[in-house]
């Protein structure tokens, strides 16, 4: 019979309410004022033919303000004559954790320096995880990622492959952060292209690299 009546546990962070908050109504009205204010503000924007939302109508509309280092899509860098710099070594396809890169290598007898080139280079964007490991694995700086996103939305997965023609759409001249080809690298010739490229990330030093390469040759 001396059982203690049930007592609700008092939590250490139990909120202490003032009588104003205890009355519910005023705080509820304040909350309704906030949400209603947002509603009226946005509604007024819609009614005056402006956009009252933060959403973009993807895919009809894409955001222009992607971060500079956004990994949006892959591009293949090009030699000065426009052919891909890729030597079809398959390193990116090997390192790819999602196994989405498919490369068919071909032989080009006319280019003695780079006889091997990709006749087919395709990436399955329905499975790509945008980790960027392919970029890190590439010994030729042939594959990079840019901030723009591809035209992905599609009704089936067969249409989510990025093919060679789209990968080569990249205009190197417009990439300020990583100019390509590196300054001076083009004049050195095919033999030292690898060296010129490896330091090509810092544009002002491109020239000195070329001179150092010449000095080493002398």
């Amino acid at each position: 019979m001396n059982k203690k009546p049930y007592q609700r546990k008092v939590y250490w962070n139990a909120p202490t309410l003032t009588w104003w908050e205890r009355a519910y109504l005023f705080e509820i009205l304040r909350g309704l004022g906030i949400t209603g204010g947002v509603f009226l503000r946005n509604m007024w924007k819609w009614m005056t033919f402006r956009k009252g939302a933060l959403t973009t109508y993807y895919p009809e509309e894409t955001r222009a303000d992607y971060a500079q280092n956004n990994r949006g899509k892959h591009v293949l860098t090009q030699r000065p004559d426009g052919r891909p710099q890729c030597i079809a070594c398959n390193m990116c396809a090997t390192v790819c954790p999602a196994q989405v890169i498919e490369i068919d290598a071909a032989f080009d007898p006319d280019d003695a320096a780079h006889p091997k080139y990709p006749s087919r280079f395709e990436i399955d964007y329905s499975r790509c995880i945008f980790c960027g490991l392919c970029v890190e694995a590439c010994p030729e700086d042939a594959i990079r990622m840019v901030k723009e996103v591809p035209e992905l939305p599609s009704a089936d997965r067969e249409h989510m492959w990025l093919k060679l023609d789209e990968l080569l759409q990249w205009k190197p001249q417009s990439d300020v952060a990583k100019p390509y080809p590196a300054k001076g690298a083009a004049s050195v010739g095919p033999a030292s292209a690898g060296l010129g490229k490896s330091t090509g990330h810092k544009p002002p030093e491109g020239g000195t690299t070329a001179t150092r390469a010449k000095g080493a040759a002398a």
Binding site: G31, T35, G36, F39
Partner: protein, 382 residues
């Protein structure tokens, strides 16, 4: 006699159209308003393509309601192996029908005089003669009592659904629904008692007509000015009665999946949802009728506007009827929109809080309100 049949058939058709229309439109309003309130755009992908063309009609996503309906009609009607299949099948209708019936006693317009309306067609005008009809399906002198009688019936549906589903979650949801709805129905009734004291009647048309006079010379004599406390408490209790956030404990999806209609699929579940949305409109219509002057604009009567007692602005009968119908719909839509604002602003109560709120907070307040009203009414009578 035939004239009565014709008029009431038109009324019933109008009422059904309004309720079904609100049930459909409010799903859209709920989606869009929630989106606008949270800086989003909202559902806008469903479209109707004009046949043989590429023209797609989107219309701000209005067709999502149709898409929902088609989906629910075409889904598999899955049934649990219930020990009471009859109760299981009948429960959605027990929830849905009383909601529609409540609207029968709510006036959606003033007194209609068909002969005046059809002056252009002398034969029709002569046929109707000098008959007048209140714009209300059933003018009963027990109007408000009917509202509560039918309102109380939807509890039975919720309990039946939960009990016959053979599911623990449904059962819990039904228990919650039962205790919550009974608690809040009491409060709803008590809040309205103050109004009955003031108006001296439960006939809804008379209540509306009394609200078209003025108060202190400038205020319209709306219930919300006479009984502000009761109006607030009534709206809160009505939302709780309708089992919507912040009182949606019976169907709290994070705790009970979908509460008492967990085991319902396809259009049976759709009926529950539809009943809920129609009930938003019903609650709004009730609130409009009791507290916001019903179908009348401020200072408006069945003959036109009357300002300060002597300045009269007469209107033709057709203009009055159209104004009253439109004003009623506009007010209902406004209050429904306000309910949706509440639904998307407030978090859900804890279950013990819901009942504590009803019995320890709202019940004393309603009793105080009732006492003060009674004393004032008695002293005024004095």
């Amino acid at each position: 006699m035939i004239q009565d049949l014709v008029v009431y058939a038109v009324y019933i058709g109008y009422a059904l159209a309004v309720l079904m229309g609100f049930g459909t439109i409010l799903t859209w309003v709920e989606r869009k308003q929630a989106a606008v309130m949270s800086d989003r755009i909202g559902a806008n992908r469903a479209y109707i393509r004009i046949p043989f063309t590429q023209v797609k009609l989107i219309w701000l996503g209005l067709f999502h309601g149709i898409a929902d309906g088609i989906k629910m009609l075409l889904k598999e009607d899955w049934k649990p192996r219930s020990y009471d299949w009859y109760a299981y099948a009948v429960a959605p209708w027990v929830v849905f029908t009383p909601v529609l019936l409540v609207f029968a006693v709510i006036p959606f317009g003033g007194i209609l005089n068909p002969a005046k309306l059809l002056q252009g067609i002398p034969a029709a005008a002569a046929w109707f003669g000098d008959r007048t009809y209140p714009m209300q399906i059933a003018r009963l002198d027990a109007g408000l009592l009917i509202v509560f009688a039918f309102g109380g019936m939807s509890i039975i549906g919720a309990m039946l659904a939960g009990w016959s589903s053979a599911n623990k979650f449904s059962m819990l949801g039904a228990l919650r629904a039962g205790s919550q709805m009974i608690s809040y129905e009491l409060i709803m009734g008590l809040t309205v008692l103050g109004l009955i004291l003031i108006y001296g009647t439960v006939d809804l048309t008379t209540i509306v007509q009394q609200q078209s006079s003025t108060l202190l010379g400038f205020l319209p004599a709306w219930g919300i000015f006479l009984q502000p406390f009761a109006a607030t408490l009534f709206l809160a209790a009505a939302i709780a009665e309708n089992k919507r956030i912040p009182f949606d404990l019976p169907e709290a999806e994070s705790e009970l999946i979908a509460g008492f209609y967990t085991e319902y699929s396809a259009m049976k579940m759709g009926l529950f949802m539809f009943a809920e949305f129609i009930e938003i409109a019903i609650v709004a219509a009730l609130f409009t009728t009791l507290f916001l002057g019903g179908y009348n604009l401020p200072f408006m009567t069945d003959d036109g506007f009357v300002f300060r007692g002597d300045l009269v602005l007469p209107m033709s009968h057709g203009a009055v009827v159209v104004t009253q119908l439109v004003v009623f719909l506009a007010k209902v839509l406004l209050i429904a929109s306000f309910q949706i604002l509440i639904r998307w602003s407030l978090p859900r109560f804890r279950y013990d809080q819901v009942l504590m709120f009803a019995w320890k907070f709202m019940l004393p307040l309603t009793l105080v309100n009732l006492t003060v009203t009674a004393v004032l009414a008695w002293s005024n009578q004095g």
